[in-house]
Symmetry: C2
């Protein structure tokens, strides 16, 4: 029996133990956004480090420094760097994951305690972090442990980078990656990240593109203080009036961005790309049902995916400084900030996006003839990421998927951003594969987060199979 | 010496005692909006009742019932009804005031403890409630006490109605006024309310008009839950996009309402009215300076006043349901409510305003072609109030003002609403005079609220002089 088949067999045998391990880590409420939970986040990092070290890995704990969380000064949780195997004849795969989780309270609407893993009859393993990202992070660990237990040699050298701040902006991580690029991460051949989701509920995928995001604050400032609308309504230029006029010029109700020049930078769709939309596991029926109301703009599935993956979009998120509570208040807010962001795609440059947006809003504001002051502030400009799915790293991922699931994976892109992807690619100069374990309905940031038992167990196989495929792949091809 | 001159003399003598009384009541932090202060509000009402009863007034404490304040069930503070004098040969004047105050914390930026009255060298008496409305409420009491002390007969029968919830929506008051209209308030000839402000800082005024207010929520509802803009941006109809498009159609940046038909109901300006704008104490220079930035729409003072007093205006107050905090969040809010209100003037009818606004927004929403759901909700429709300044009650107020200040008062209207004015007028069928004590810069709802010593002392004289003038006026003229 080939090594990978022996590995699969042992995974099948140890399923229940793997679920128990997931139960053990879900029980550590490592919520990075909650100051009171910070010791649990640290404890979770230490749990991982101890378990890898017990297996024989060399670990390095890096403390990124201090954080100001709503005025409280906290130690950032450690980034756990590791090295498992150091054979110069083997390829080296770096894997990334995060051991912190989103906040969760039973009062939010959870069916059961979010920090107690519950195995449902329908196969769901429900618990905070089950799919995002404790399941996948355990996947790499259980893969290595199972190899050792079965007496199978690891096919590659494994490096890992597990952080505890992903759900809170990955504070401090980029600096560590930059710093360690030629040190701890030296010798990395490829990177694999398992921290996103299938396009649907049944068919696995590889992900080779992410959108960037440029975030803007559109500030309009008028009187020195909030005013009473009874006294001042109709006599002063009201910042909110100016703001809604400007926001209404950004995008039409069908999502078409009105900023001149924005679409000029977008890469055209080739026939080859068009074909990739033919056999994806994606249906509007399921999507509209998830949305509860059918508010879909596009008639065709492929158009929805194109607007998610490869066209820029603009969303208006809210207004800071205005009245936002329930009830009635007759205030004229003195200074308001409209928040909006653009999702960007190849080959848009954040600097050019900011320039176009700013110029357009300045022009439109000048047309209004208001005496208020207007300012466009770009608070964030993160680039998109795009990788060819023909790269040998992806070919290895595809072969592993076929071996485990018996189907060719969908090749997907995502509408959101996973900034660390780009950080690894740019600083290590190696290919990055996104190899998801969970399904589209896992509810990563929602109540009743789950990973299906199938995805968890087959996912553990998948990560191992991928390492075996990488070992047998010519990465320079 | 005429009675009123004797009264003025004694007021001059007792100035310091009057300031001490103001100090005593400012020290009772009767903040109606703060559950923890509710006992202080009640204590303040009881203080007033006890002092009037000590003078010989007959009082009736009416408890309006329960209130739900942010989930806490509280007893509403009492409405203190009173009768001082019951001579069938005298006219009966009903006065209204409120003994509760706005919240105030030194951390808000007060120079000194807001609940400790401080007499400044420039004549300001600084303290929460000094001008709104404890100064004026004391004015009536001190007037009656001084008459007694001086051995001067009160020229009229006085009825009073002092409430403790004015700063929190006057909960329960209207029902009491309706209930008592033919009982406790029976026999009232005129009403006088001292709870507003001069147009400027130096010249007294009588106020004979208030605008109404119609408040609307414009709700747009799309997906069943908030969405991630990375995943769903550009593929669903976003409620915020629809909302800013609709809000931008309501009013232009110069305050011109875009709802068809709104201006049709507005009473035209006669030559006679136009003349009343000639000699008012009002300057754009002072106004722009108060505003810190000159964001005034109109070039002429009279146009600013017309848009404050006698034209309808529309202000956008904010958005409920969207992202409102500082920082960045890439949410697509699922359900948002834009809040806006129209200030209404003679002869606009709230029902007609709601009809026009709703029809217009429905028409504009239909044009957008969005699959979201839109709804216009009128949450409040309060009428404007207008009284002829030629009514004998106003003539009495004008004569009293001339006697105290040596100038003819400005005849003003206000842009805001004092709903109790209309409640008294409609239920008692008598004329209501608004006779302010404080000046435009008193900062009623702001930090460092003050009443100038001049306004307080001369104001006590003014209220007494007004009662004497009413006694000598033919109210049927």
């Amino acid at each position: 029996m080939a090594d990978v088949e022996k590995y699969f067999d042992l995974v099948n045998q140890d399923q229940q133990a793997f679920i128990e391990t997931l139960r053990e880590v879900v029980a550590i409420p490592s919520v990075s956004g909650d100051a009171a939970r910070r010791p649990d986040v640290v404890r979770m990092g230490e749990w991982l480090q101890a378990r890898w070290e017990a297996l024989g890995a060399t670990c390095k704990r890096v403390d990124p420094g201090k954080q100001n969380l709503h005025g409280e000064i906290l130690d950032l949780p450690p980034v756990i760097l590791g090295q498992y195997g150091n054979d110069p004849n083997k390829k080296t795969v770096l894997v990334y994951g995060h051991y912190d989780v989103q906040p969760a309270l039973i009062e939010d609407g959870w069916e059961t305690d979010p920090f107690v893993l519950v195995e449902k009859e329908d196969g769901r393993l429900v618990g905070r972090g089950s799919t995002d990202d404790k399941g996948p992070v355990l996947g790499w660990l259980l893969c290595a442990e199972t190899h050792k237990k079965a007496g199978i040699e690891m096919p590659v050298n494994l490096k890992f980078c597990f952080e505890g701040m992903e759900e809170s902006g990955s504070e401090g991580l980029d600096e560590i990656i930059v710093e360690e690029a030629d040190k701890w991460f030296k010798g990395t051949d490829v990177v694999c990240i398992s921290d996103n989701y299938w396009l649907g509920k049944n068919k696995p995928c590889l992900t080779h593109g992410l959108r960037g995001v440029s975030y803007f604050h559109l500030q309009v400032e008028g009187p020195g203080a909030d005013l009473h609308s009874g006294v001042f309504g109709g006599t002063v230029h009201e910042p909110m009036t100016d703001l809604v006029h400007l926001l209404s010029k950004l995008v039409d109700v069908n999502g078409k961005i009105q900023v001149p020049g924005i679409y000029d930078q977008v890469m055209p769709i080739t026939d080859e790309e068009e074909e990739t939309y033919n056999n994806l596991e994606f249906s509007h029926t399921a999507l509209a049902s998830d949305l509860k109301n059918d508010v879909l703009i596009h008639a065709e599935e492929r158009d929805t995916l194109k607007h998610r993956w490869r066209f820029p979009t603009l969303s208006i998120h809210g207004v800071e400084g205005a009245f936002y509570a329930s009830g009635d208040k007759t205030v004229i807010p003195a200074k308001v900030r409209g928040k909006f962001s653009l999702r960007t795609v190849p080959n848009m440059e954040p600097a050019k996006v900011a320039e176009l947006v700013t110029k357009y809003l300045n022009d439109e504001f000048a047309k209004l003839g208001s005496k208020n002051k207007m300012q466009v502030i770009e608070t964030h400009g993160g680039r998109w990421w795009y990788s060819s799915p023909k790269h040998p790293n992806f070919v290895a991922g595809a072969k592993a998927t076929e071996k485990v699931y018996g189907v060719k994976p969908d090749l997907t892109r995502e509408g959101g951003s996973i900034p660390v992807t780009l950080t690894f690619e740019e600083n290590l100069n190696v290919n990055v594969l996104l190899l998801p374990m969970g399904a589209s309905d896992d509810g990563a940031h929602s109540i009743n987060e789950k990973i299906d038992k199938r995805n968890y167990i087959e996912g553990i196989k998948l990560l191992g199979a991928y390492l075996h495929e990488v070992a047998n792949t010519d990465l320079s091809a």
